[in-house]
């Protein structure tokens, strides 16, 4: 060891201490810098042989718990998500108004109910009539205004998506820049602690916007994916693309199929020139972006659907006239017209090399017109593509085919299976006994079947009901209840009047009832109704009954289907029909804009809450709320009482699309009760979202606090360190001083 050695060792100490001081200075000055982690310098001794000859700095390291950091990033995404959704829920909740205030939605509902009640007590009072008009207007204006608010919130959410996408793109860009810098620094073998801080800061910003996974590479670079694995950053930044929608209205919906979607989606380039649709693939599950998307496509549309459902129920409750069925006018063939009444129809076997080829021929008279029906069931020309046997069903089809050809009709049912026999009938006309069979001959049936000419007693005829559908409007429903004796169950079919074939088939959720089968069909066209029922495997046929009624006929008491009941609801369009029903609420300003829940084209219910109006005829003449026609006595409260009952007592079934009740177990209530449930459910959702947000805030804050303990700069600690470094520096300097004095001493010897 030499004096020079001490000198150089002290020098290295001074150098390291200086570097340490630099770090302390940087720590103190960056104490409040976002994303700054506390830096420390690790140092080690420099050895010459076995002797320490100095000290060296091994580089700056960050005080960072990487597991904690990963968890924080995930929680940041969750925070961004719940904060965004909670904010929208909270705004929806505030639309409901303050408890007890006159403008709260439930007060508006209650007031409308009360004024209807008062009108029932005083039907001719102008004050009472005006009160109903006034409260109804407040109600519909509230519905209109809330719809407008919901749609402008959706527009904001759409804008929020755009902003979020912009933030993501900016962050990815910054990450790319920081990453490149890091790569070049690490290439020189240094540790770029501040650059790492910078990159982490931008990754954290990104994590708030969407759920990401970050993978560190060995060379110090990072790769970033969405949690579902779509690459966002891999050396270069991907670019997200989003097109905001200019005008968002209730009819604008998002669809995973972009050709069906009215709203923009978020896309990201795959690098191979293609793009991935992040929304359609459900690739964004958390973060602000997911929150905005959920608000735009789920939360707000559901609230709109809730209000639409209310408006829909409100308009229909007042305007639907229930129509009962009547006994049908028999269209039933006499027993004399049955084929095979005496025996059992077997299977005609063609496997016999032509030995069983044969024919049936008979004259069929329908409404006085006689045609000869010839059916040849030769093996060679029996039925294209059929098996080698013919059963009852196939023979029925064949008779229908031949009879339609003979009479020049299309799709008319002339024959149906009735037990083991075949009944002949006409579904086109209403007259009784209008079908008969004569000159029945058959060849080569012996031993195979006992089809006969039906001269003996046979089928018991058909049963059915008919219903007057005069004035039926698109969307009006006919309910058919029948028993399927083979399956042993009673079934409910709702036939919805649809005049636009392009809108078919209808979803089963057009009605709230989970137990019915919904069939959309043009109910003014019996042929179409028959075809629609047949297409659903229901052996009930439609025809035109007396007075143009729709007639539904089953296959007789001994057959498979028995019609139990038939009813309809028809939208009333006139104000003075002599009945209590009236189109009190319309779809638009003109009184002709009736609301019938039409399913033609876009369902009329969509966005109805934004369009619902009080019928202008009632605004002009509130007396219509009591006057069912010009001769209604002033004190007659029939209509007013009906309106009151429809609002306050009559049970309604709420569609699950409103987010209230389930598809399989729909919510049943009254209109007034539904209005209150809207307030309750909206408030409940807001409270739940707020609780989720608070919970998330506690988790995230807790993690951030731990990170802060780990990584934040503690000024006291730095000051202590400073004092320590000062001492070390002074000591090193003292060593140098001593060495210098020793050198001087030596030189002066």
């Amino acid at each position: 060891m030499t004096v020079y050695g001490a000198l150089s060792t002290a020098l290295s100490g001074l150098r390291v201490t200086q570097a340490q001081l630099d770090v302390v200075a940087a720590n103190v000055s960056n104490a409040e810098t976002p994303g700054y982690t506390r830096k420390t310098i690790t140092q080690s001794s420099v050895y010459a042989g076995y002797n320490a000859v100095g000290v060296q700095s091994d580089g700056i390291s960050r005080q960072l718990d990487e597991l904690l950091q990963r968890q924080i990033r995930s929680e940041l995404g969750a925070s961004g998500y719940v904060e965004t959704t909670a904010r929208y829920h909270d705004r929806l909740n505030s639309l409901m108004g303050a408890p007890g205030s006159a403008s709260s939605f439930d007060s508006i509902i209650n007031n409308f109910g009360t004024s209807l009640s008062a009108l029932g007590d005083n039907p001719s009072s102008q004050t009472a009539q005006q009160a109903v008009v006034g409260d109804a207007q407040v109600l519909i204006q509230t519905l209109n205004a809330m719809s407008a608010d919901i749609q402008s919130m959706r527009a904001e959410a759409d804008q929020g998506i755009a902003t979020s996408v912009q933030t993501i793109n900016d962050s990815l860009q910054r990450i790319e820049e920081a990453n490149n810098a890091i790569l070049s620094v690490t290439a020189d073998g240094d540790i770029p602690a501040d650059l790492l801080d910078e990159r982490d800061r931008h990754i954290d910003v990104l994590a708030q916007e969407l759920d990401i996974q970050v993978l560190e590479q060995n060379n110090g670079s990072v790769t970033i994916f969405t949690s579902t694995g779509v690459t966002l950053f891999s050396g270069t930044a991907a670019r997200l693309d989003f097109e905001p929608t200019a005008n968002i209205n209730p009819l604008a919906t998002y669809s995973v199929d972009s050709s069906q979607s009215d709203l923009g989606t978020v896309r990201v380039g795959t690098g191979a020139g293609g793009t991935v649709d992040l929304l359609a693939g459900n690739n964004i599950r958390s973060g602000r972006l997911a929150g905005y998307v959920e608000a735009r496509d789920e939360i707000l549309p559901e609230m709109q659907a809730r209000l639409d459902e209310f408006a829909h129920q409100l308009a229909l409750a007042m305007s639907l006239r229930p129509e009962a069925s009547e006994a049908h006018d028999p269209v039933v063939a006499d027993t004399a017209a049955d084929l095979g009444g005496t025996g059992t129809f077997g299977t005609i076997d063609f496997t016999n090399g032509g030995a069983n080829d044969g024919s049936i021929s008979f004259d069929l008279t329908v409404d006085g017109v006689t045609q000869t029906i010839d059916i040849t069931y030769a093996e060679a020309n029996a039925f294209t593509g059929t098996p080698a046997t013919v059963d009852q069903t196939q023979l029925v089809d064949l008779i229908n085919q031949e009879a339609n050809a003979a009479f020049g009709t299309v799709g008319v049912t002339y024959a149906v299976a009735d037990g083991t026999a075949i009944d002949l009938r006409s579904s086109t006309t209403g007259a009784a006994s209008n079908v008969s069979v004569a000159s029945y001959t058959e060849t080569n049936l012996a031993g195979v079947t006992t089809l006969g000419d039906g001269s003996a007693t046979g089928g018991t005829g058909f049963d059915g009901l008919q219903i007057d559908l005069a004035g039926i409007q698109p969307g009006n429903e006919v309910s058919l209840n029948f028993t399927d004796t083979v399956a042993g169950q009673t079934r409910q079919v709702t036939l919805v009047h649809v005049t636009d074939a392009g809108s078919l088939p209808l979803s089963n959720e057009v009605t709230a009832n989970p137990d019915d089968l919904v069939i959309g069909v043009d109910l003014t066209d019996p042929t179409a109704v028959s075809a629609a029922l047949a297409a659903n495997g229901i052996g009930i046929t439609a025809g035109t009954g007396t007075g143009g009624d729709l007639q539904l006929i089953d296959d007789g008491a001994t057959g498979q289907y028995d019609i139990n009941s038939l009813s309809a609801n028809i939208s009333v369009t006139g104000m003075q029909t002599g009945e209590p029903y009236l189109p009190m609420f319309t779809d638009g300003i003109a009184s002709g804009d009736v609301y019938t829940a039409s399913q033609d084209g876009i369902p009329q219910k969509a966005g109805f809450a934004s369009r619902i109006q009080l019928n202008s005829s009632i605004v002009d003449d509130p007396g219509l709320l009591s006057a069912m026609d010009s001769s209604t006595p002033a004190g007659d409260s029939t209509r007013a009482t009906y309106l009151y009952d429809q609002f306050n007592s009559t049970s309604i079934t709420v569609s699950a699309a409103s987010g209230i009740g389930a598809v399989s177990n729909p919510f049943e209530t009254t209109l007034a009760g539904f209005g209150r449930e809207i307030v309750n459910r909206t408030a409940f959702e807001a409270a739940s979202a707020e609780r989720a947000r608070e919970g998330q805030e506690i988790v995230t804050n807790g993690l951030l606090a731990r990170q802060s303990e780990e990584s934040a700069v503690d000024i006291d600690e730095e000051m202590a360190r400073l004092t320590e470094l000062q001492t070390i520096y002074a000591a090193n300097a003292q060593v140098m001083n001593a060495a210098r004095e020793m050198m001087d001493l030596l030189l002066n010897v």
């Binding site: 408890p99 109910g113 307030v679």
Partner: protein
């Protein structure tokens, strides 16, 4: 939340801010008395709050309805009670034996009845706030035409007086001025047979009562009938009739009452005696029976028949809507009329209100509870009010000539029928029955109102439990928060001094 900038200091700031917000919310609660200004913050109690609030609004509506309806029912009840009083007064005045004609042709009781009739009409036309009380559903239509129009007719339409006069003419077959009235019975002699034959209608005049039949106590008078179409009754004298022997038959009168006629054989008879003179010659006896019948029938026509006719005219006019009246026969005029029918274009329709199938009470309903509607309507033409109008009108309408010897008896007949018409021990057809029903409606409304009041009070308590706050509670919370916030402030201030920087010199 900002990213990564959370230091101990900023977390302290967050905490202080949230305490600050809590203080703001508490002072809002203090000011408004409400726990929350939105439904979400009410918590699970929110459904109760919504339901209770709806119920309270509804209850307020019911109570307002009850308040206005009970005023109306009260006024109506007083009106009906007055109508009942008027009816009793008319009845009390109509004494059968007090025939003293005042101003020429009417008694004091009749003149008073006429005034009471006018008051009845006025009462039945009462309204509240422009709504007539006795018009059924047609609350905008004055139910009863004026007393003047009802009695005298108006605008070319006949009133009750004309309907009454026509009915009298059709029943009597002539007027009181005629020397002889037969009440539409043909009385004739053919050989030894004296006979009575109806004019061939079942509506007007005397009807021979076939159920009561006819008889003779004399072996020498053979009775045939009453039978046939038209009904005929004959007495064939076959030998000598002894004095004291009688013949008997019954006349049915238009109002459903009847009059037994018993003629006794006598040696002589005076006008008005219900007797016939016997003679050895059956032919003469038969002629004498005819003479007696003619005289007695004339007497009964002037007393019983005309009174019954007037009473029936009252039923025709007041009990039917539109009123029924004699349909003139094209050949014989009213005196020979055979039918009664409505002639709405030429007759006053006294009741103008609604007259549908509903029970009169059901024409005005007030909802006092979810499923309870109290009925308190009325129609001026319901039994109770109609009876009062009808009997009073009939009693007041008849004129009496002081020189007419039958006038006093006729007055007695009319007065008796008026008293009978107004007499109903059960009270079911009198105004008091309506009064009872209205009283029940009123009591029910009051009881319901009391129940609503107590329910509302319970609900109000419940609401304030859910939504309200007590001042003490809020004040205590505020104080606590204030203390904590102050402590946090001063602690933060102290802590900020506690940094090594301040101690390194």
């Amino acid at each position: 939340m900002t990213v990564n900038s959370v230091t101990q200091a900023t977390m302290n700031i967050d905490r202080m801010l949230s305490m600050r917000a809590e203080i703001d919310d508490l002072s809002r609660q203090f000011g408004t008395g409400q726990r929350s200004d939105n439904y979400a913050d009410l918590g699970p109690q929110r459904t109760t709050s919504l339901a209770v609030r709806a119920d309270r609004t509804t209850i307020a509506g019911y109570r307002a309805a009850i308040e206005s309806a009970s005023v109306s029912v009260n006024i109506m009840n007083e009106t009906v009670e007055r109508l009942d009083d008027l009816l009793e007064e008319v009845k009390g005045d109509a004494l059968p034996n007090s025939f003293v004609v005042e101003n020429g042709n009417q008694t004091t009781a009749q003149i008073a009845a006429e005034h009471r009739f006018q008051e009845m009409v006025t009462l039945l036309n009462s309204d509240i706030d422009g709504k007539y009380l006795f018009s059924g559903l047609s609350t905008d239509v004055e139910p009863v035409v004026s007393a003047e129009a009802m009695m005298k007719g108006s605008g070319g339409r006949a009133g009750f007086e004309q309907v009454l006069a026509e009915r009298n003419l059709a029943d009597l077959g002539g007027t009181l001025a005629d020397p002889t009235l037969n009440g539409r019975l043909d009385i004739a002699t053919a050989g030894a047979i004296s006979s009575l034959t109806e004019a061939g209608n079942d509506v007007f005049g005397f009807q021979l009562d076939t159920a009561a039949g006819a008889s003779s106590s004399s072996p020498n008078i053979t009775v045939t009938g009453p039978a046939g179409a038209p009904n005929a009754l004959s007495f064939e004298v076959t030998g000598t009739v002894d004095v004291g022997e009688t013949i008997r038959f019954t006349l049915a009168l238009p109002d459903g009452s009847s009059r037994d006629i018993v003629l006794a054989a006598a040696d002589t008879r005076e006008d008005g005696d219900e007797a016939f003179v016997v003679d050895a010659d059956p032919l003469v006896t038969a002629a004498n029976i005819t003479t007696a019948l003619t005289d007695v029938i004339d007497d009964v026509a002037r007393r019983d028949l005309i009174a019954a006719s007037a009473h029936q005219a009252g039923h025709d006019f007041f009990d039917n809507n539109p009123p029924l009246r004699v349909t003139p026969d094209p050949v014989d005029g009213i005196a020979g009329a055979t039918a009664i029918a409505a002639d709405p274009n030429n007759t006053i329709i006294w009741y103008q209100g609604e007259d549908g199938p509903l029970d009169a009470r059901e024409t005005r309903l007030t909802r006092v509870d979810e499923n309870v509607r109290v009925a308190h309507g009325a129609r001026a033409n319901e039994d109770a009010f109609r009876t009062a109008l009808r009997e009073t009108a009939v009693f007041a309408s008849m004129d009496y000539d002081v020189d007419d010897s039958s006038a006093a008896d006729r007055y007695t007949q009319i007065a008796n029928r008026t008293r009978e018409g107004m007499d109903d021990p059960s009270g079911q057809n009198l105004p008091r029955s309506v009064s009872v029903e209205l009283g029940t409606a009123y009591t029910m409304m009051e009881a319901t109102d009391a129940r609503h009041r107590s329910t509302d009070a319970i609900y109000a308590n419940l609401m304030s439990d859910i939504e309200g706050v007590t001042e003490e509670e809020v004040a205590a919370k505020l104080l606590d928060l204030q203390t904590r916030l102050q402590a946090t402030y001063s602690l933060t201030a102290t802590l900020s001094e506690l940094t090594l920087v301040n101690f390194l010199r």
